[in-house]
Structures are given as structure tokens and as C-alpha cells.
């Protein structure tokens, strides 16, 4: 009897998976990206971009040069809109390869978390799907043809990722980081803002950073400000810092090789003190008005750069402090270092960010001058 149950049990394992789960690749249509808009009467308008295979076999005819199909559906809820896709396209939609989700700024002002509920719950979509906010109608962004990548979603995904890596001007948001930030203590979340440059053939560019509070779009930062915000948030990887020349409109640029930012929170009688200490290793990129001939000049240059960065960060934070939007995640830091203090702040709903004193102390070390000449290349 015991033997028999053993066999029955192990035999039933065979039915865990089976032919009914089997689907050939050609039975699926793979969702590449999604655009979420809103119609005038409050419905969700979903634009789904599918990958359209272009067979390289001579006999089956050319697939054309467009490698995607866009399908627009409407629904009261996201899932409702998604289910309507099957009416439009003969194949089963596969959500396992969604690369990018764009959402119009209009929708984002309401609540992004409500819209994205499906993607956090369903088993097919991945959390590493990229996410961005668009200026204007999101569906327009999916009509654009990609430059090099196969699909526009791939291009958007790569642009936000490498933009963050090399220029420091973009924050590579995906559903995972977004979800984590929405559920953090400060509930501040970040996503890149895309815009279309109508003067340049409708090219899509990353035009800043959208900042959410409680899943609602609150503020938009310019690219320049994003760079300094990334420095404060310890997310800066590489980028260029500009330094204006005195008494002329020339500008010099310095490349950041490596950053390490230290932050610390302390509560004193006069309120919360937040100390930000970015430590940068830099290289000279372009020199216009500085001359470096000995060690003291080098120190001078370091000081100048430190001052410039300090000022930029101060300006950025002062603006946000005025609006009392905690863009740097100060609340999270307080929760980390002084959890009791944070409990108090939360209970009393104190405007902790506005009243906080923020100290910025940048340390710059120029380690590489490029070509070994201490004067600008252009002759005077």
C-alpha cells in the first residue's frame, strides 16, 4: 500500500506541467512596450506595442521595415484594457518581455501606483521593466522609429540606462526601483521625463527628472539639476561638471571619474542637521582660462570646483526646501539613523524638510589633466 501511494504520488507529478502549457513561439505576440494615456471621459487609453517579426525567409514575403504594431485599447481599468487586446490581434499576448512603460504626465499627476497595480501583481511582467513619464500624449512616443535598436522600447530602455551611467542626467527607473521608492518612508519616487523635440524630427530625448510624492507627480527637475541631485543621492556614476570662466562667457568642463558621497543625520536642539560630503575624483576635459603650472594652481582649481559644486547643490536644495518637497530622501535617512525622531515627525506631521539645516562639503581632487600641458590649447 505504501509502495502504491509512492507511485501514485510520483506519477501525479507528471501532471504538474504538460502539453496544455505548451505554446510555440509563433502562437505568441510579444509585448514590447506600453503607453498609458487618459481619455477625456476618464477611461484609460492603453497603447500596446508588439514586436512584429520580419521573417528573413524569401518565400514568406517581406515583413516591411516596421518591426512593430501598435494597438490602442480603452477600458475602465488597466486589466480591462489589456484584455481587449485579444479582440484586435489574433495571438496571445505575452507580457514577459515588456521593456518599457511610458505614462503621460497627465496620468502621472493622478496616481501611478494605481495604474501599475497589474504589473506588480501578474506573474508575467518583469520588475526590471523600464519606466518613464512623457510630456504630452504617451502614445505618440511609441510611433517613433528607433535609431539603431530593433524597437523603440529597447532604445528608451538603453537611453535611460546609459544616460544615467555616462552623463548623470537620467535616473534609470524600473518597476522595481519605483515600487521600492513609493513604499519608502518619504514616499518620494523618481522617473525620467521624456520629451519630443519637434524641431528635430520628433526625436525623443530625456528632458529631466519627474519626482513623485505619494505616487503623484509633484515636480520636474531640469537635466542640470538632476545631475546634482544624483550626486546627493549617491546615484551619480559619471558625468561632466561645468565651470564658468571669470569675466567671460567661456566655460570649462571637468569629467567626474569617481564619486563617493557620505551623508549623515544628526538632531540637535535647533532641528535636524543633514551633512552631505561628496568626494569626487575628476579629470580635466576642456580648459579655457585656467593655467596650471605648479601645485598651488592645482589646489586652487580644486577649491574652485568644490565651490561650484557646493553652490549648485545649495541652490537646488534651497529651491526644494522652499516648496517643502523632500527630493533627496531626507526622511529615509532620518528613519535610518534616528527612527524615534522619525516616528515623532510622522505623528506630528512636522515639516521636517523645510526646517532642516543642510551642510554641503564637497571635496574635489583633480587627478588627471589629460594632455600634459598646463595651459589652454587655444593660443591667446
Amino acid at each position: 500500500m505504501k509502495q502504491l501511494t509512492k507511485y501514485i504520488l510520483s506519477f501525479s507529478l507528471l501532471f504538474l506541467s504538460g502539453c496544455w502549457d505548451q505554446n510555440e513561439l509563433t502562437e505568441f505576440v510579444f509585448v514590447q512596450s506600453l503607453a498609458v494615456d487618459q481619455t477625456k471621459d476618464g477611461n484609460i487609453k492603453l497603447t500596446t506595442q508588439f514586436y512584429k517579426p520580419s521573417p528573413k525567409i524569401a518565400s514568406s514575403g517581406g515583413g516591411g521595415d516596421v518591426s512593430f504594431v501598435n494597438i490602442e485599447t480603452e477600458g475602465k481599468t488597466m486589466f480591462d484594457a489589456i484584455r481587449d487586446i485579444t479582440i484586435h490581434i489574433g495571438r496571445k499576448a505575452h507580457w514577459g518581455h515588456v521593456r518599457f512603460i511610458v505614462m503621460s504626465d497627465k496620468v502621472a499627476k493622478k496616481n501611478i501606483a494605481q495604474m501599475l497595480e497589474f504589473f506588480y501583481r501578474d506573474h508575467e511582467p518583469r520588475l526590471l521593466t523600464g519606466f518613464a513619464i512623457t510630456k504630452g500624449k504617451a502614445s505618440d512616443y511609441l510611433q517613433t522609429k528607433p535609431h539603431i535598436e530593433n524597437t523603440i522600447s529597447e532604445q528608451l530602455n538603453e537611453a535611460t540606462k546609459s544616460g544615467g551611467k555616462f552623463s548623470g542626467k537620467a535616473y534609470p527607473t524600473n518597476l522595481y526601483t519605483l515600487g521600492k521608492q513609493i513604499h519608502s518612508e518619504t514616499q518620494t519616487a523618481y522617473a525620467p521625463l521624456l520629451s519630443k523635440d519637434s524641431s528635430k524630427n520628433n526625436m525623443i530625448i530625456i528632458d529631466g527628472l519627474a519626482i513623485f510624492h505619494k505616487a503623484k507627480l509633484k515636480q520636474i527637475l531640469s537635466n542640470k539639476d538632476t545631475k546634482y541631485l544624483m550626486l546627493v543621492m549617491k546615484e551619480f556614476q559619471s558625468g561632466i561638471i561645468e565651470l564658468p570662466c571669470p569675466k567671460s562667457d567661456l566655460k570649462e568642463s571637468y569629467e567626474v571619474l569617481d564619486v563617493q558621497t557620505k551623508t549623515s543625520v544628526s538632531t540637535k536642539r535647533d532641528g535636524i542637521h543633514y551633512k552631505i560630503e561628496p568626494k569626487l575624483q575628476m579629470a580635466i576635459g576642456e580648459m579655457q582660462c585656467t593655467t596650471i603650472e605648479d601645485r598651488s594652481h592645482m589646489e586652487e582649481l580644486n577649491k574652485k570646483l568644490e565651490k561650484q559644486i557646493d553652490r549648485q547643490i545649495h541652490d537646488l536644495l534651497k529651491k526644494s526646501q522652499k516648496k517643502n518637497t523632500d527630493i533627496i530622501g531626507l526622511g529615509n535617512a532620518i528613519y535610518h539613523y534616528e527612527p524615534e525622531e522619525w516616528d515623532k515627525i510622522k505623528k506630528e506631521k512636522k515639516p521636517y524638510y523645510k526646517t532642516a539645516t543642510i551642510h554641503v562639503k564637497t571635496k574635489v581632487n583633480v587627478v588627471n589633466t589629460g594632455t600634459d600641458i598646463g595651459i589652454p590649447f587655444s593660443p591667446k
Binding site: 507528471l14 510579444f30 521573417p55 524569401a58 514568406s60
Partner: protein, 489 residues
């Protein structure tokens, strides 16, 4: 001609002997029977029987020679020799220039004649004299075609048993190397030899082997593969349990490792038993190259074996069940190639595998100059055309091509058969149950392998970490400085 069992003694009367022999070899025109008279007044009679096709080099009359050899008589006097004198000489084991045996009955006579001996009957004597004159055309020692090495000896075995034994003996000059002769007792009457190195071989393995080899006496054996199959434990398994080689250096090395070898007359193939799993991944050249390189090449072979078993089924499982596991960029490439193929992935793969096997078989059968044409036609035209015709996708051609190539990376050709056989059930499992089915298949193979024994040795025994052999001369090959120190013979 079941004379082997009859044991009829040789008659004293030469006439009767002559009659019996002629009757025995009726219609065997290559058996030559010659009648001689010699001695005083030519009153001594003799018949000389030999097989013409087995004695090709002997030109001189041996009867004359043995008479000449007898030291008591001068050559000139040999004419006056009497039968009695010859009898006394041989019965007292007189010294002659060639080794001579005395035969008592016809089963012995037949045994000698068909082995190329010359048998002489004298009148009034119930014994026959046999002299080994066997000489058969044989090819010279050459490099074996399917076991080529870059560095190392180029000798290969030939179809002559004595020569082959000599090639091995010359490598192991020790009395510990034992060769035991056996002969089948049926029509083929073929000699076969098993050899081992006493001290190196495990006694229980040898005992098991001998008890099995003694059971096959009555079988007709023409090739070593007959013996291997007759003494193996499991004939249903796709995994070979014996290694075949044509290299005497490989045979010698395996003797040192405690293996038993079997050689059969008339074939150059040597069986090495027991053959354990990881030994099939070891090539002779591993031991003639730098150990670091050999180790990497061995890993490549293990990966190759894995690929040749599982690659098509992994592809099928991934594309039909787990498309979310494929990286997006690769998936896009796959979609482009798969679109427009009318068959499911399994059928597509089966068609391509059938193509591949067909090409391979055709390539082997055809003579060399045409064989290369087949591979070109097959690879280029059929491959290209089937893609253009929409039967197969380019990625499938890549997968099946890689699978086929991978199975050739295993040094022992017949071990690749295991991969070729197991591939298909795995593909079917993968297409029914996806990755889950693949795991079931892998588990079943593993269970089967761990249950398999060869001469009561576990087949996977060499893969255990127990004596550290896996990490010395298993997955990798250590340098001889480290490898040989632990091997005590």
C-alpha cells in the same frame, strides 16, 4: 565436420589415413595433399597435407628438410633413412631446425592444418608430424585512422594476432603481463587472447571476466565486438561498457590502470574492459600534451557531450514553455527566424536531426572522394535550401549542427551513439513537459547510469570523489609529477 568431438586416432596404415583426409577435405581445393616416397628403394611412404591458402611463403619441401635435419645422418645418406629412425628421432624429441609437434588424432590434425601448419603422415606410424608454416598476407603496421594523435606513437594494430601481442608486449616488458589464449570450438575456431597485468588488475574483476569469457566458447566469434557484447551485463543501455582501441599504447596504458584487454585473431580491434563513464572522455593525446591543455580539452568534451544530448531539448523547452527565460534581444532574433515555419519546434528539430543522421550515414557508406561531396551537398545545399523553403529556421540549423558536431568531440565514437540515442526521448519529454520534462529525463538517465555495472564495477565509480581520482585523472588531468606518484603498481 564435427571432428573436434570425435577424437579418432591416426591409423598406422598410410592408405587409410590418406582416404580419411581426402574424405574430410572433400571439395576443399585449397587443401593440398601430396604423396612422397623416399629412403632405400623408395619404400618409405609419406603424405604431406597443408592448406595452400594459409601457407603462402613456404617454398622448400619440408619433408626433405626435416630428414636433412636429423643429425645422425648425413645429407647424402638421408636417402637410406628408414621410418623407424625417424620415429625414434621425434619420439625422443630430437632437435630439428623448426619446432615440431606430434599429433595423435584427427581433431588435432584438422586444428593444425586450418591454422596453416603442414602435417606429415608416415606409413606404419600412428602419429603425425606437424610443422608451423603459417604465413598469411598482412598489412604493415600503420597509424589507426580513427585514433589519430598529433604527438605520440603512430603504431596501430593490424589483423595479425601475434604481431598485435608483440606490439603490446614490447611496451610492457614484465612477466606480470599475462596473455591467456582461448579458442572457440565451432566453425570459426578463432583464437582469442585476454591479457592483464597481475598486480594491477582487481582479482574480483578478473575472476568475473574469466567466468564470463569461459561461457562463450561455443559461439562464432569473428570480431572483438562479439566478445564485448556477449560478456556485457546490460545490452539494452545506450552506454558502451567496453572501450575499443587500435592503439597498442592505449592498450598498454589501460593494462597499467588494471584493465583487461581482449584481442581476436583476424581483427585489429582491442577491447578494454571494464570501460567506465569518464574513461570515454580520455583520449590518448591527453597524455602526450601538456596537462593544463589536456584538462581544458577534457572539459570541452564533457560540455560537448552535454550539448549533444541536451541542446535540442533545451531549445525546445525554452521556446515552447519558457519563452520568458530567453533574453529579449535573442528572443527578437528568434521570432524573426521562427515566423513562417509551419512546424512546431519538436517536429522541426526531428526533421533536421533526421537530415543530419542521413547525411552522416551516407557520408560513411560512400567511398572517400564521393563522401566529401555528400557533406558539401548536405551542409550547403540542403541546409540552405531547407531554410529558404521554410522547413527549418536558421537557428534550428545552428542548434542541430552544433549538436552533431558536439557528439563528435567524444574520443570514443561509440560513446557518441549514447548521446544520439538519448537526444530524441529527451526532445519529446521537453516538448511535452518543458523544463520539467527535461529534468525528469536527466534524472532517469542519471538513475540508469548509477545503476549500471560493468564486470560488477559501478559504471560511475570513477566519478566519485572517494579516492580523488576524479580530480586527478578524471575531469582534468594533473601533471605527471602529481599523477604518477599516487599510482602504485
Amino acid at each position: 565436420m564435427s571432428s573436434a568431438k570425435e577424437e579418432i586416432a591416426i591409423n598406422k596404415n598410410l592408405q587409410d589415413n590418406d582416404e580419411y583426409i581426402r574424405n574430410l577435405y572433400k571439395d576443399c581445393d585449397d587443401i593440398k595433399i601430396q604423396y612422397f616416397q623416399f629412403g632405400k628403394n623408395y619404400n618409405n611412404e609419406a603424405i604431406v597435407v597443408h592448406c595452400d591458402s594459409l601457407v603462402q611463403e613456404e617454398k622448400s619441401n619440408l619433408l626433405h628438410q626435416i630428414i636433412k635435419d636429423m643429425p645422425d645422418f648425413e645429407a647424402a645418406l638421408s636417402l637410406s633413412i628408414s621410418i623407424d629412425e625417424i620415429k625414434t628421432f621425434f619420439e625422443n624429441k630430437g632437435v630439428s631446425s623448426r619446432p615440431v609437434q606430434l599429433l595423435k588424432n584427427y581433431s588435432e590434425v584438422n586444428g593444425k592444418i586450418v591454422n596453416g601448419h603442414m602435417v606429415i603422415f608416415l606409413n606404419k606410424w600412428d602419429l603425425a608430424i606437424s610443422i608451423d608454416t603459417s604465413s598469411v598476407e598482412k598489412r604493415s603496421v600503420a597509424e589507426p585512422q580513427n585514433e589519430v594523435v598529433v604527438v605520440g606513437p603512430r603504431e596501430g594494430t593490424i589483423e595479425n594476432l601475434q604481431k598485435n601481442l608483440g606490439l603490446i608486449r614490447s611496451r610492457l616488458k614484465t612477466p606480470d603481463l599475462k596473455f591467456c589464449f582461448r579458442q572457440t570450438e565451432n566453425k570459426s575456431n578463432l583464437k582469442f587472447v585476454y591479457g592483464y597485468l597481475s598486480g594491477a588488475v582487481k582479482p574480483e574483476v578478473l575472476e568475473e571476466f574469466v567466468s564470463r569469457i569461459d561461457r562463450i566458447k561455443d559461439e562464432e566469434i569473428l570480431e572483438t565486438a562479439y566478445i564485448a557484447e556477449l560478456i556485457e551485463e546490460s545490452t539494452i543501455t545506450p552506454f558502451p561498457q567496453y572501450r575499443f582501441t587500435e592503439r597498442p599504447d592505449v592498450a598498454a596504458a589501460s593494462l597499467l590502470e588494471g584493465k583487461i584487454i581482449v584481442l581476436v585473431e583476424g581483427t585489429g580491434t582491442i577491447v578494454i574492459c571494464p570501460g567506465l563513464f569518464n574513461e570515454f572522455f580520455q583520449s590518448a593525446s591527453d597524455y602526450y600534451q601538456r596537462s593544463s591543455f589536456s584538462s581544458i580539452i577534457r572539459l570541452v568534451r564533457y560540455i560537448g557531450f552535454f550539448l549533444s544530448i541536451a541542446l535540442p531539448s533545451i531549445y525546445i523547452a525554452l521556446t515552447t514553455f519558457h519563452s520568458e527565460l530567453i533574453p529579449t534581444v535573442l528572443l527578437i532574433a528568434l521570432l524573426d527566424t521562427r515566423e513562417g515555419i509551419p512546424f512546431p519546434a519538436l517536429i522541426e528539430a526531428l526533421i533536421m536531426i533526421f537530415f543530419f543522421e542521413l547525411l552522416q550515414e551516407a557520408g560513411i557508406r560512400l567511398p572517400k572522394p564521393i563522401g566529401s561531396t555528400v557533406s558539401i551537398v548536405g551542409a550547403l545545399i540542403i541546409g540552405e535550401a531547407s531554410i529558404n523553403a521554410g522547413i527549418a529556421s536558421p537557428i534550428m540549423v545552428v542548434i542541430i549542427g552544433l549538436t552533431g558536431i558536439a557528439s563528435f568531440s567524444i574520443p570514443y565514437y561509440d560513446f557518441g551513439f549514447a548521446a544520439r540515442l538519448l537526444r530524441i526521448p529527451l526532445m519529446i519529454l521537453a516538448s511535452i513537459m518543458g523544463g520539467f520534462g527535461l529534468l525528469i529525463g536527466a534524472l532517469l538517465i542519471l538513475l540508469h547510469l548509477s545503476k549500471l555495472t560493468v564486470l560488477k564495477e559501478p559504471y560511475l565509480g570513477s566519478l566519485t570523489l572517494k579516492n580523488g581520482s576524479l580530480l586527478k585523472d578524471g575531469l582534468i588531468r594533473l601533471s605527471y609529477k602529481k599523477l604518477l606518484r599516487h599510482k602504485k603498481l
